[in-house]
């Protein structure tokens, strides 16, 4: 009798958990990742509406169409990535391909549907292995004197040079129309990539093209930082002395000596000052990790912090070269602090959570860092990129609900930020505008980390 009743009772007791689980599943089906919309009044000014026309092919060299396609695409992408233009899409542009200011009909470009206020156009020809490009930037609203910019380029005919010329022309346009700030089309991003088996330092164009390795050390190399004059890359590497700061000379193509970066075997995260004269890094040679500063050759090491908890990840103020932002664990969880170059006036920036990887903006006003506010009082969330105004300590969250975002780095125009996004063990490098919009993935393959944007 007992055995006959027990199975019945077991089945009844199972009903409740099954129905409860089904109820939860039903509720969970309606939850999904939120879309984010940025809206507001007076968010920046009206962008300049620019049309990037297809350049006119001159001559019948067989290389010209392929080079022209690369050039047109690269120029359009550079101008649209700049963040200051409202691009006229190619489908709205008039059908003509003007090759010189005499050939262009500006009223066509300034009328609907193009409504362009600026037009970039020109002629491209590949003759005898030389790529010659003539480029003009015209003000479509000014019929009397439309020409704003005229440029001429003459380089070897190859896909890489077609891209380079497009980058240069785009940079000229951005510098002219962007209020004196140089464009980033010719800048590079240095990063860590492990697809060769070990983590090496790689470099790529700012738009993700032309990725190739720099170091071939066969050991783990982290946090590359290029010098302001693009001559050297400082990075942390695991050698027989432990972790040390090493210098790779881009001019010589090999590792050069950096004596100050080895002692203690626990040296990480180098950072160049904006004049290229000093390198700051974190070193545990005196016990706990502290911020040290040496000159660019590795001599004259000086300790800046002396709190017994860890002080790591220094970042210079590029405008004044007299302040450093760093991460300190002196209150428990890592927080962002700033201090003067002599170690005085330590100011705390974040009020809780888990904040790491600061990067100081080129105009000296903002800090970007990776922050997880879930640890402390505040809204729950993951590791996201934030921008903070240093004077008022007001911050803005740039990434939402998209994996773990870390290692942000400002672009030299102060308008873009590159960062690492990792989810499920795959890490990629993304770039975005400094307000969190226009996020583009730059790498593929799931093995790219710790990006660093070059200074020019």
């Amino acid at each position: 009798m007992n055995s006959s009743k027990n199975p019945v009772m077991h089945k009844k007791y199972l009903h409740f958990p099954i129905s409860f689980f089904a109820f939860i599943c039903l509720c969970a089906a309606s939850l999904s990742a939120q879309d984010w919309v940025h809206a507001g009044t007076n968010l920046g000014n009206a962008r300049i509406r620019i049309a990037s026309a297809d350049f006119k092919p001159v001559g019948d060299d067989p290389q010209t169409p392929a080079l022209k396609a690369t050039f047109d695409a690269t120029l359009y992408n550079d101008l649209s990535n700049a963040g200051i233009f409202d691009m006229v899409s190619k489908s709205l542009a008039p059908q003509e391909t003007p090759g010189s200011p005499q050939e262009i009909h500006l009223p066509q470009w300034s009328a609907a549907p193009a409504n362009a206020s600026m037009v970039a156009f020109g002629a491209l020809s590949a003759l005898g292995g030389k790529l010659v490009v003539y480029g003009w930037l015209d003000d479509a609203g000014n019929a009397a004197s439309p020409v704003v910019l005229t440029k001429q380029y003459n380089e070897a005919a190859s896909q890489e040079m077609a891209r380079t010329i497009a980058h240069r022309f785009a940079d000229e346009i951005i510098a002219r129309l962007g209020g004196g700030i140089n464009g980033i089309a010719e800048t590079k991003i240095y990063f860590v990539n492990s697809r060769s088996g070990s983590k090496e330092i790689w470099v790529m164009d700012y738009d993700g093209q032309n990725q190739h390795p720099i170091t071939h050390l066969g050991t783990i190399s982290l946090s590359p930082r290029v010098s302001p004059d693009n001559s050297r890359v400082a990075f942390a590497s695991l050698g027989k002395e432990g972790w040390s700061i090493r210098m790779f000379s881009l001019d010589l193509g090999r590792v050069v000596g950096f004596p100050g970066g080895t002692a203690g075997g626990n040296n990480f995260s180098p950072a160049w000052s904006a004049d290229g004269g000093k390198v700051a890094f974190s070193s545990a040679r005196s016990g706990a990790p502290e911020i040290w500063v040496t000159d660019a050759n590795g001599n004259g090491g000086r300790q800046l912090t002396s709190f017994r908890k860890a002080d790591v990840s220094p970042a210079w103020n590029p405008k004044t070269n007299a302040q450093l932002a760093f991460v300190s664990g002196r209150t428990g969880l890592p927080q962002i602090y700033t201090m003067e170059l002599d170690g005085s006036n330590v100011q705390r920036m974040t009020d809780g959570g888990y904040a790491i990887s600061p990067s100081w903006s080129p105009n000296g006003q903002f800090l970007t860092f990776s922050w997880n506010r879930k640890y402390g009082p505040g809204a729950p969330g993951g590791q996201d990129i934030y921008v903070m105004d240093i004077a008022s300590k007001r911050w803005m969250q740039l990434t939402h609900e998209s994996g773990s975002n870390d290692f942000p780095c400002w672009a030299p125009d102060g308008r873009h930020i590159v960062f690492e996004r990792s989810s499920g063990g795959h890490a990629e490098i993304w770039s975005m505008l400094a307000d969190g919009t226009e996020q583009h993935q730059l790498t593929k393959g799931g093995s790219s980390f710790m990006p660093n944007w070059s200074w020019k």
Partner: protein, 277 residues
């Protein structure tokens, strides 16, 4: 025998009670309770003593929808260069009160030698008859004519502009105006860039919110060949010192407007810019 008893007892304990009947009874009781609560609520609703929101006293307040709220208009300041001739209306002072007669206290006991009571009884009889008849004519004394103060404010709405202003060749509409004649027509894109950069750096929150809408402050600065502004000066104040200061600070905050166009021959550019609140 005892083991049998224990066994039966144990079997009864382990057998478990059937709970079908009590369970259904419990469910029915709960349903009944809920039904009673719902029924009471419905019944109360049907026979509600007090009507909420009804027209009776203590009921709802009717709200009328209006399309406009009669707030005082924000008068934009007059952009006229000249001072106006319309004095602003200020209330005239009250006319001087006619000299009142000393109030005579009838109950007061006249102090001999010091005070004489006037005859209050005789005067009221004669007064209503005499005074309306008498014309109030007084011989005008021979004095210098005194200009009576009008007691209205003598200022206009607009402060007079004393700064001599050159004729400005305004070719591009907007806050920037260049004194060199044809710069705006040749390099309109650079003027737009100045507008854009200034609009970006101007912090409107620095201005006192009591500043009237439309108030404008004019200032001038000089743009060097590499685009850096200098000699930032206030040209015409808006009347609001916070607005003036915020506009000047915006120009000082700008690093560069971008290099001057190569087609422009001179080494500097004079710019007049206004910030409108």
């Amino acid at each position: 025998m005892s083991t049998l008893y224990e066994g039966e007892h144990l079997e009864q304990e382990l057998a478990g009670e059937s709970f079908a009947a009590p369970a259904t009874g419990s469910v029915l009781l709960h349903i009944g309770l809920v039904a009673v609560v719902v029924a009471l609520g419905l019944l109360r609703g049907l026979f509600h003593p007090a009507t909420w929101g009804g027209p009776a006293a203590g009921g709802a307040i009717r709200a009328t929808i209006t399309t406009t709220i009669p707030l005082p208009n924000d008068q934009p300041p007059n952009q006229n260069v000249l001072a106006t001739e319309h004095p602003s209306p200020a209330p005239a002072p009250p006319t001087p009160a006619p000299p009142t007669k000393e109030a005579v206290d009838e109950t007061a006991i006249p102090v001999l030698g010091k005070q004489k009571l006037s005859a209050p009884k005789a005067a009221p009889k004669a007064a209503p008859i005499k005074e309306p008849v008498k014309p109030d004519v007084k011989p005008t004394p021979n004095k210098q004519p005194v200009q009576k103060p009008t007691n209205k404010a003598e200022y206009g709405e607009q402060a007079a502009n004393n700064i001599p202003r050159a004729v400005q060749g305004i070719t591009t509409p907007g806050p920037t105006s260049i004194t060199e004649g044809d710069f705006g027509s040749r390099f309109g894109w650079y003027v737009n860039q100045i507008n854009r950069k200034m609009a970006q750096t101007w912090n409107k929150f620095e201005v006192d919110p009591r500043t009237p809408k439309g108030a404008r402050v004019y200032m001038t600065f000089v743009v060097a060949r590499d685009g850096t502004p200098s000699s930032v000066q206030l040209d015409k104040s808006s009347g609001s010192p916070t607005l003036d200061r915020s506009c000047l600070r915006a120009a000082q905050r700008v690093d560069t407007f971008g290099p001057l166009p190569p087609g422009y021959g001179q080494s500097t550019l004079n710019v007049s810019y206004y910030c409108e609140y």
